[in-house]
Symmetry: C4
Subunit: 234 residues, 4 copies
Amino acid sequence: MSSQYEEIKQEAYRQNMQLPQLGLVLFTFGNASVADHRLGVFAIKPSGVAYVDLTPEKMVIVDFDGKGVEGNLRPSSDTKTHAVLYKHWPTVGGIVHTHSTYATAWAQSLRDIPIYGTTHADHLTIDIPCAPPMADEKISGNYEYETGFQILNHFEANNLNPEEVEMILVGNHAPFTWGKTGEKAVYNSAVLEYVAKMATLTEQINLKAPRLKDALIKKHFERKHGPDSYYGQS
Amino acid sequence: MSSQYEEIKQEAYRQNMQLPQLGLVLFTFGNASVADHRLGVFAIKPSGVAYVDLTPEKMVIVDFDGKGVEGNLRPSSDTKTHAVLYKHWPTVGGIVHTHSTYATAWAQSLRDIPIYGTTHADHLTIDIPCAPPMADEKISGNYEYETGFQILNHFEANNLNPEEVEMILVGNHAPFTWGKTGEKAVYNSAVLEYVAKMATLTEQINLKAPRLKDALIKKHFERKHGPDSYYGQS
Amino acid sequence: MSSQYEEIKQEAYRQNMQLPQLGLVLFTFGNASVADHRLGVFAIKPSGVAYVDLTPEKMVIVDFDGKGVEGNLRPSSDTKTHAVLYKHWPTVGGIVHTHSTYATAWAQSLRDIPIYGTTHADHLTIDIPCAPPMADEKISGNYEYETGFQILNHFEANNLNPEEVEMILVGNHAPFTWGKTGEKAVYNSAVLEYVAKMATLTEQINLKAPRLKDALIKKHFERKHGPDSYYGQS
Amino acid sequence: MSSQYEEIKQEAYRQNMQLPQLGLVLFTFGNASVADHRLGVFAIKPSGVAYVDLTPEKMVIVDFDGKGVEGNLRPSSDTKTHAVLYKHWPTVGGIVHTHSTYATAWAQSLRDIPIYGTTHADHLTIDIPCAPPMADEKISGNYEYETGFQILNHFEANNLNPEEVEMILVGNHAPFTWGKTGEKAVYNSAVLEYVAKMATLTEQINLKAPRLKDALIKKHFERKHGPDSYYGQS
């Protein structure tokens, strides 16, 4: 493997292997991809291949229109959704899709996840959005392609910025997360599952738990992400 | 071990050992079997033997009337249920019975598991059926044999096809799953437990969560199982 | 270690070490003991010693009045409860006390665990009993000794047989289990936790879930424990 | 590393590494510190460094005003909260902050955790306190410093003693625990999470579960902590 795609294949492999490690996937219910915007392609998990059988060589290279570029295996069935997002969001370098239990339960519930605490506010300042199921004619058509637009449209309709909100629940289906890198996209999937679990527990403990107040939302987000952030090593 | 049954013994052993690995059984609360329809027999776990003590040689060979054919140990107490299903469903090559926590809780609740999301629809297009408890005189009679008919009758009464719906909850008891192979039957047990957990969470998050709409059910099932399926490697 | 107590020390050690393995204890929140009724003593975990630091030699030998017989360490603070049960129940060879999460939550709820399914009926034919908290003057007196009588009295008042019902929830506190051997007592603690979890889930899924009907209770218990039992190897 | 701070660096490292082992943190969502009151400093985890990359050398030495004393890395973003507590509570030798799921869900619910059982009473005699969110002007100001005073003020207003109550929920945020040593602070974080989980389950099982009665609270706390305590080895 000495192709120009070697780096994203290696990275897509590494990030896919994180998903079962973090307890986010059962069997093959998930996939990660890593893009090279300069070359206009991304590397993604092959469809239906067990994680124990994955190797960097088996990653499939696809362009931003969803067409295969390199690789002998068929890419993930969700490939076109990844392609649409990469094509329209040039700052996104990695995308992850899982059916992790708590996040998926919220998607099945067709509810945004309310911002109940600072763990949530450390990562985004709004409720985690849940896109409504798409119209029937789109489902029966080019489904995975339309799922990409379902996400794009929900962001546009709600004036959301994919650099600030790096996750969404696709209603009735499951979560997608992304980030500047594949590693960040995987990180966001684990954070989403963790926040989704705590929100579920919060409502069980106090049905009338209030949303986090604005001052705390602002403070926690900015100490991690603002111009004067002081979280982590500079 | 050079008998004609060696292959199904090995396979039954392998599939039984998957059950604790997948977190589906405590102690000996479960069993897997693998059939050879040509020879009219199946290999099944011996009764009450701990998983750490299992070997391929300890698997018991039984015919489709539930009579022992080979092996020194007593077969699983659920053997006659397996025998009835193999006898009447010639396409079934493996059967698994567990008391996995979420699926069993639904069986104890006497409710079908509603189809709330695409994870469910990827595997079957209807609610996961729960057969009602059987009549008292059957329970006190040939109980495990009647449990097989309880399953068969529920499928017939509801016009279900065991090649399309590869799982059932036996009311007040626990789940049974099956498939063309033992591996598929084990896979289905893990999927059932996962879907059962997410359905439980979905109802906790939104008591009025809607069932998945028909267009999504159809799309997800067909992309995995239809004539033009595009999931996995062809 | 060549004392006459070597065997029960070894066995008490082995059974105590099973408790963290089975996920039943955090830190030192639990203890197992094994009795020798011929010698009138039992071996029990020393108080407050971490499981990683346990050895067979550290087990403490105590008589059925709760007096130390051999060993340099102070025995478990629950020792007198064990002593009372061994003294009055001559067929009990092992006792386990844990604060396992689901069983303890039921004890804190002051509710018997309803018999909702066959997993429960495989082990006992009635709801798992929860003894009410004891009177204040007994608590401030010889507390652990009285806890033993709290259990004995609840069994007597409800006409229960400790050979048929091998577990109890002590109200507001936590579970005790027992059996002919230490291994059986540990097994019962794990079964109790498993059944307690499934009962919790069952009520979440269906608030009106019915108790198991009598025919199923009788069948499942007798196939494992009746004179014509056919579970396990004879 | 031969500085006078070597001992607390080693100990802070050891205690930080316990947090993922005990399942209390995801990624870097937590931190432990260990103080030397004689020298007026404490050692704390560097900010945003993954647990797998930690070493004793990377621990940062900070004084009780929150000023850096030794170390090349930026200390945890929660450092000033630790500093305030050490400065005002001279008997506290270790502090831990996590976002463990159940304890955080109670903090998000803005509820004290009711004392439902003896596991709770073994560690403290009152409901686990939840401090209300602080005023907006303090949040936008010196936030982590004010969080320390939020804790101190809640203890003072409720007449609580930090040697008797070694844990608090910071409303909308997450728990802090402490103790004479770093090891005790970590132990308290695990106990808090365990008690928080069992309280959640208790309310699910019985919405009207009563608080533990006074005689039991007194007995359990005193057998572990009173002048005549008989738990553990003397």
